[in-house]
Symmetry: C2
Subunit: 304 residues, 2 copies
């Protein structure tokens, strides 16, 4: 059994009120697999990078026990890169540049050794690549989690609808849920979206936490209130990685475990934003994670 994660591996250049980075390691696939690596030891990453990516960065991922056999290194190619500037509220950002580079022609090759995939995270990519990934897996995974964004709803809605029919969980933010459903109320939005295919819907609300809909139930996970959000980049991906990582660990899919998975995802996301890029996600200890989980319990549990 393995957890396969497909997503971007990228160079990010980030400006926040706290400072500015050079090109640092980023990408949805990177954040998600690092976060999941604290919960599951059979993670296999599918992605693409350029010749410029460098062994140090690949080692950083590999050192967390993540299999990178499926990360293609394109000779002569440049790694996908993104640069952005966060506003003072840290909730909104401007994209300064997006250079797709090798991502433009990404053909997701699934190594033979990945065919034991039982848990699949389809990171935010073109719906067509997500469909291709699903087609190239010989066995249907036990659980498929899909991340996507408003951009694909605008330019590739037909393909996105096809992907939605094949996934178990969709994770999007509140604005995207409203756009996808045409409903303002998130309860109504969830009803519309769950009729499009997924059995579960996660609505990410940033500093306001996340909602889980499915099995005619709703769960609300809080976000940990933080004094300083240092760099929000990758928080949503870390959340998704922590979420599916937990389910791959407990190997049983039901609403009770999904609720816990949301808390683990939220905890991993709360670490991610404490430092620039992947800095905080590479050296967590078991104790760090346990303390953070305890903080989520204290934050949200009551006894009427």
């Amino acid at each position: 059994m393995s957890l396969v994660i497909i997503g971007t591996v990228a160079f990010d250049t980030i400006e926040t009120p706290f400072g500015k980075t050079d090109k640092i390691l980023g990408g949805a696939g990177t954040f998600a697999s690092l976060a999941a690596s604290y919960l599951c030891d059979q993670i296999k990453l599918v992605s693409v990078v350029g010749e410029d990516f460098g062994n140090d960065n690949l080692d950083l991922i590999r050192n967390r026990g993540i299999d990178v056999t499926g990360v293609q290194v394109i000779t002569g190619g440049q790694t996908f890169s993104w640069s952005g500037r966060y506003h003072n509220d840290m909730n909104s950002r401007d994209t300064l540049a997006t250079d797709l580079n090798v991502l433009a022609d990404f053909d997701p090759i699934i190594p033979e050794s990945y065919q034991d995939c039982e848990y699949l995270l389809l990171g935010n990519l073109t719906p067509q690549i997500q469909l291709t990934t699903l087609e190239r897996l010989v066995h249907k995974p036990k659980l498929v989690v899909l991340d996507t964004m408003n951009y694909w709803m605008n330019v590739a809605m037909d393909d996105l609808r096809k992907v939605l029919l094949k996934v178990d969980v969709l994770a999007i933010n509140d604005a995207e849920a409203r756009q996808l459903s045409g409903e303002y109320s998130l309860v109504k939005a969830a009803k519309v979206i769950l009729a499009m295919g997924p059995k579960y819907l996660i609505i990410k609300k940033g500093e306001h936490g996340a909602l889980l809909f499915g099995e005619n139930q709703i769960f609300s996970a809080p976000a940990l209130p933080l004094a300083d959000v240092f760099d929000p980049t990758g928080a949503g991906d870390s959340f998704a990685g922590g979420f599916i990582g937990y389910l791959a660990k407990v190997k049983s899919i039901n609403f009770t475990n999904m609720k816990n998975a949301l808390i683990f995802g939220s905890a991993l996301a709360s670490f991610c934003v404490e430092k620039f890029g992947t800095d905080r996600l590479v050296d967590l200890t078991e104790e760090d994670i346990q303390k953070r989980l305890n903080a989520f319990v204290a934050l949200s549990q009551f006894n009427l």
Copy 2:
């Protein structure tokens, strides 16, 4: 022992995407005392209305067991009235008219029978009226909860600072917390505000729930996701009433009880928005409330 609530009793004219009302019963004091009446049977209201208010409206409040001895009826005066229009998102609204009428000269008279006050809710009014109320109580209440708004921060900050020194709990929304503290992070904002006097701070976040800060702890209460928010008017006041009503019921003030109080407040607020004005708050049953509390438990409790 009694719970004294001072706040407006008003006529509201409301437009929402669901319809438009004539002048209906409203006001912070009304919503708060109705909500609290499901938890505490010794509620004493201080307010002012005009001769136009009518016995039916007063009876509606009285019928919930609320003492209205402290509600002055000004001969020849007109009741404070407000009219507003909610936008489609139901989170923002335009005030179409505010007629202070008898509220302009409101002098809060505390009847002798109210001097057993142990729990006091200072509803959103001028800080000067809130100060006068505190001065006119012979014994310091066991718990004082203050509601205020951005308007008073703009025009009466000196008086508001004096009130803050005398209260135990402040309840404001997230934008107001940011304005009052000058800090964007709510954790930092809470630190600044708790240094101004209150021992506890509640930050109301509407559809995103509420946060409680105090005793070096944080609690996050979810809001119940609703398919239809029919009329948000009075939700914050119902929340405050439910909150202090619960504490007056259990008669013990600590962080554990405060957490439960937040859940009771959230539950009462979730009823308030289901119908226009006070319609839903006048006929709740014990079973209605217990079911709603169960929904909050299901919504937010997990077991790692």
